[in-house]
């Protein structure tokens, strides 16, 4: 197949509002896919990676948020990338394969030769061009991105076994209780249009099963405890797992970073990973300064052009400052995300925290997170419009929007 016949459509699953409350309190104000990591909305990173795919003709975002939440973003990014980006809204969650299938007419509109499927809450280097090359050489209907992790953490994900030579997918299990493999599914896939037939087959089988068999009362009991509607089709368990070992699915291993962005703590960690990646992909986005004309910058730091940072402040490593933020004299910021319109007053210190839109941090106050990125109160999160008064200390706490902290707190959730 010559490259002139090659057309690629990318599909990014973005999820929806009621699914997953783990991203609270940030998700109370913004849909998770639009939360900024390293200065750009979360969904921007996979979209940007799609730019490197030759012959990319269209990008679809599929989710069940309201259309208006994505309208502005989608029109501005289409304009910027000069590739059409569209948001398609599911009326209810269908599972990743169900969602893909329900919009197959849109996806197949441009007669793509390949379909790239990405999950928005995956943080990685998205080596799509190399992966596409590998997929074409394998000749299967799908290639999944995989990565080796520690044996202990593997059980949280989909574990798989691949042939060392041919890279064929031999076996796949979702979140197994016993150890299967330390090679896991990254949530990034390349398919040929035949994937739709594979999904259709699953629908047909389910219908046949429902019509032909009288389900025994015991079976009915089993399925009743975890009943999924017939049109909820999960890609990994329902489609890929049965196809393993049939010379249809292959794997492509990445040796770069990979994380899932499920919690605000992880978004802070992933913001750091993307900032580090900017060094290679977009060094012009990283800030620099030595304390003379501009603030002292150490490590990877992103500062929005409209933000104002006093030259006596010291920023970094792993800091991202959004639009119109004002950072006062003598402020120290380490490992944090400062969102739009935040004001940080003189000599304040912010470490391992997320400071929400329009919040203010008083003079000599200290906002800090001390724990694990994945722990419930591992980092400090201030919601929208939170005011921390002068000299107040906030450690390992989560503060919901529109609160004023007049006294110090530790390990608390403030509603």
């Amino acid at each position: 197949m010559g490259s002139s016949e090659e057309r690629v459509v990318a599909v990014i699953m973005v999820g929806g509002p009621t699914k997953g409350t783990r991203f609270r309190p940030l998700s109370l104000n913004v849909p998770k896919p639009l939360f900024p990591l390293a200065g750009q909305p979360m969904v921007h990173h996979p979209i940007s990676a799609c730019r490197n795919i030759p012959n990319l003709v269209q990008i679809y975002l599929i989710g069940f948020y309201e259309e208006r939440e994505f309208a502005l973003y989608v029109s501005s990014i289409s304009h910027e990338l000069r590739v059409p980006v569209r948001y398609l809204r599911e009326d209810k969650p269908h599972g990743s394969a169900g969602g893909l299938y329900s919009f197959r007419d849109h996806i197949m509109e441009e007669s793509p030769s390949h379909i790239v499927l990405l999950n928005c809450d995956v943080c990685c280097s998205f080596p799509l061009e190399a992966m596409l090359g590998a997929h074409k050489s394998y000749g299967g209907i799908g290639t999944m991105l995989v990565i080796k992790v520690s044996a202990e953490s593997a059980s949280q994900f989909g574990e798989l076994v691949a042939d060392l030579e041919t890279k064929e997918l031999l076996h796949y299990t979702e979140k197994p209780e016993t150890f299967v493999s330390n090679l896991i599914n990254c949530g990034v896939y390349i398919f040929t249009p035949e994937i739709f037939s594979a999904i259709e087959d699953v629908f047909k089988q389910r219908k046949e099963r429902a019509n032909l068999r009288r389900v025994s009362s015991f079976e009915a009991l089993l399925s009743a405890t975890k009943a999924l509607p017939a049109d909820f089709v999960r890609l990994d368990q329902d489609i890929l797992s049965p196809l393993a070992g049939k010379k249809q699915l292959y794997t492509f291993e990445t040796l770069d970073f990979w994380e899932q962005i499920k919690t605000p703590g992880m978004s802070l960690r992933c913001s750091g990973l993307y900032l580090c990646q900017y060094r290679h992909t977009s060094p012009q986005l990283l800030a620099s300064g030595d304390g003379t004309k501009k603030a002292t910058i150490t490590g990877d730091v992103y500062i929005h052009p409209s933000a104002k940072v006093h030259p006596s402040a010291k920023i970094g490593p792993n800091v991202s400052i959004s639009a119109n933020a004002r950072i006062g004299a003598g402020v120290r910021l380490i490992s944090c995300i400062i969102l739009d319109d935040v004001e940080i007053m003189e000599n304040a210190v912010v470490i391992r925290s997320i400071v929400g839109w329009k919040s203010t941090i008083g003079k000599w106050s200290r906002v800090q997170g001390e724990g694990d990125y994945n722990a419930k109160l591992g980092i400090t999160i201030l919601g929208e419009a939170v005011d921390v008064e002068d000299e107040v200390v906030v450690i390992n706490s989560v503060v919901l929007p529109n609160k004023t902290l007049t006294v110090s707190v530790q390990e608390e959730i403030i509603l």
């Binding site: 009621t18 409350t21 609270r24 989560v398 919901l400 929007p401 529109n402 959730i413 509603l415």
Partner: protein
């Protein structure tokens, strides 16, 4: 006559309930908090109520259209773009409050519940001829609040003392005022406190009077006080021999059950319980000192006390929910779960017990 209700801000103390609706629309005794006040105002002849808000007018306005029609009273919003304190909003709503008739207007704090004896208030205000009347209520621990020191017989206010260190009196500001329009000349459109700046001046001029609020009083802006407030409210319904209260072998003490709610066999409900529209309480359930909001299902054999169950939530079979558990909208407590003071944000499923008070996000 006109009235201004100070609705104010985000109602963060009543979270997680106020994550789903603005505070004045949170149900209390099976109707939105603010409706209790609006109905009482309508009864004394108020024709227009202005809500001073600084948040979410769209959600409010939709509900209000509904009440406007049902109650035949005009309801408008006055929206602050910056916080104006407790007096500033009066200046902002000036045009709406002055109608040229010279009639005094009411100002109410939206978090306050009481019997709203507005007719008596109007009578007292007219009789003393002063510029402003505030209602005061007796409390056990006056030092927690601002105390109003007044002359015994006349009710003339001598002074205000904020959180007094020694006993100066046991009456505090109840958040219900009747004010002459001339008071608006004293208030500028900027953040101003009515208790700290405006009233003391009027008191100095011997033009401020106070009337002791008969009956119950409660500020229900936070969950613990909301539950106490419900007890007081249901108690006052009992005193008025209200037919709204439920009765029967399965009822203990004061209980309010909406006519569309369904109660199963073998339940014991009360004291101090309110059950909202469309609720289903299955067989063998024990409820005491709790509020069950619209559309909630309580499954068989469950036991709930001293808690608030938010709209459209479910409580599983044999679950035990107690000690200031607050469930937000659409929260589902699984079978056999124990919640001791869990505060659960909307759209959550509780699959494991909460052994000590904690917030579940």
């Amino acid at each position: 006559m006109k009235a201004l209700i100070l609705v104010g801000g985000f109602g963060t103390r009543l979270r997680p309930l106020t994550l789903s609706v603005p505070k004045p629309l949170v149900d209390f005794g099976n109707k939105p908090m603010i409706l209790h006040q609006i109905e009482a105002l309508k009864e004394v002849g108020v024709t227009e109520v202005v809500l001073a808000i600084n948040y979410q007018p769209e959600v409010m306005l939709n509900f209000l259209k509904d009440f406007e029609n049902k109650l035949d009273i005009k309801i408008t919003c006055s929206q602050e773009t910056e916080p104006l304190g407790t007096a500033g909003p009066l200046a902002l709503a000036r045009e709406k409050l002055i109608d040229g008739s010279g009639d005094p207007f009411f100002v109410l704090n939206s978090d306050v519940i009481s019997e709203y004896p507005f007719a008596q208030l109007i009578k007292f205000h007219k009789s003393h001829g002063g510029e402003a009347t505030i209602m005061v209520t007796k409390v056990d621990e006056p030092s927690k609040y601002g105390v109003v020191v007044m002359e015994e017989g006349t009710g003339k206010v001598e002074r205000f003392v904020e959180k007094p260190k020694i006993f100066v009196g046991n009456k505090i500001n109840a958040g219900i005022y009747l004010l002459n329009p001339s008071i608006l000349d004293r208030i500028q459109l900027k953040p101003t406190s009515i208790e700290k700046e405006v009233f003391p001046k009027i008191a100095d001029e011997r033009k401020l009077y106070a009337m002791v609020l008969p009956g119950f009083w409660m500020d229900i802006g936070q969950p613990r006080d909301y539950i106490t407030g419900l007890r007081l409210y249901l108690d006052s319904l009992r005193k008025k021999a209200s037919v709204k209260l439920a009765s029967g072998p399965h009822i203990l003490g004061n209980v309010l059950i909406h006519e569309s709610a369904v109660i199963g066999e073998g339940c014991l409900i009360g004291p101090d319980v309110s059950i909202g529209p469309g609720c289903v309480v299955e067989a063998g359930v024990r409820l005491s000192r709790c509020t069950v909001m619209r559309g909630v299902r309580i499954k068989k054999h469950a036991c709930i006390s001293s808690s608030i169950i938010g709209w459209h939530s479910t409580v599983g079979q044999w679950a035990r929910v107690e000690n200031m558990t607050i469930l937000g909208e659409d929260v589902h407590v699984c079978d056999e779960i124990y919640s001791n003071g869990g505060v659960v944000l909307p759209h959550k499923e509780i699959k494991s017990s909460i052994l000590k008070p904690e917030i579940v996000m």
